[in-house]
Symmetry: C2
Subunit: 201 residues, 2 copies
């Protein structure tokens, strides 16, 4: 049944937009009406930006980041520390760490985590490429920056073993109370991890 | 400060997407990563659909609906009752009524409602076009289907006066308990309206 009375083009646009994460049919309809109201300022530039992105975006063959160049801007940057490699699950995690500005080394995007439930096995991830990169003479330390859930933890365990075998130093980002966090609102697991990893002052 | 590490094209795409209602910077970033993962199935078709919409969509000069044809499919449909005109604020309201399939006449999109706070005066709406259309020999009844808030009510009052002067029958959609509504959860205004407009059984 059609959602609008505006013909198949608009129906198609709503159907495609409703497949984006965070949008459903209702919000996609609202978005399309907004786009049509702002045709010159938003609809046309957005269509153009999507075409350009589709045409130019590539996956970096070194780290798996996405960029318009290959190797990506981070891999190609001369000022970054080649000896520290930070492993993340997804490109979005790499972006988050870059926004934090806390890592001055390079990255490696694993492409997911091991998961018994979702049937993700080591061969489905870029583990071979990671081990090859970490075996290189430049890399001294690998930081595992995976999500703090069960799949992230078991993947970190698996990678830690494999990386230790090739003689590279492996670390994992800390777990504890997030900045601004109030103890009363935190879950038991976080509190236990924060207590366990306490630091002397 | 850049939100990603993927160059200006992706930054631009995120900025534009985050202007859609219901999306912010964070959900726009997630949406862009999703689009890039689904390049063939989503990003390219969506860019194409936006270009096509921008090229073909027009506002119907009779009713104000949007369509790829002018007059729109509803105004051009031979089977629809030309004697009943349903007035709505926005195109989205027209779509909602069409989905309900309850109105078999024609529509008129007012383009907004009178609002003292937002400074919307009668000249800012398509009231002249509505009065001209309603003066035509075919139109027998005008149904006001405006939102049930203060601005909608004052606009309905204004239109009711103006339409009564040209001798057309004017009605307004009913207010009452929505289908599936439970009295205990409804606001006082709705309950008062439902009591006031009670129907004998």
């Amino acid at each position: 049944m059609p959602q609008t009375s505006a013909g198949p083009q608009i129906e198609q646009l709503i159907t495609l937009l409703s497949r984006l994460p965070g949008l459903g049919p209702r919000s996609a309809r609202r978005a399309v009406l907004h786009l049509i109201r702002k045709k010159e300022g938003l609809l046309i530039p957005l269509g153009r930006a999507m075409n350009e992105a589709a045409e130019h975006i590539v996956s970096c063959q070194q780290c798996g980041n996405i960029d318009v160049r290959n190797p990506c801007a981070i891999c190609a940057a001369p000022g970054r520390d080649q000896s520290i490699l930070c492993v993340v699950e997804q490109v979005g995690d790499l972006w988050a760490l870059e926004r934090a500005g806390a890592h001055r080394g390079r990255y490696f995007v694993l492409g997911g985590v091991l998961s018994a439930i979702d049937g993700v096995r080591p061969d489905d991830l870029h583990i071979d490429r990671l081990l090859a990169l970490a075996s290189g003479s430049e890399v001294r330390e690998v930081i595992l920056a995976l999500n703090a859930n069960v799949d992230g933890a078991s993947t970190a365990h698996y990678l830690g073993d494999a990386l230790a075998k090739i003689g590279v130093q492996v670390s994992s980002i800390a777990r504890g109370v997030p900045v601004g966090g109030e103890l009363d609102y935190l879950d038991d697991g976080t509190l236990a991890a924060a207590l366990h990893s306490r630091k002397s002052m």
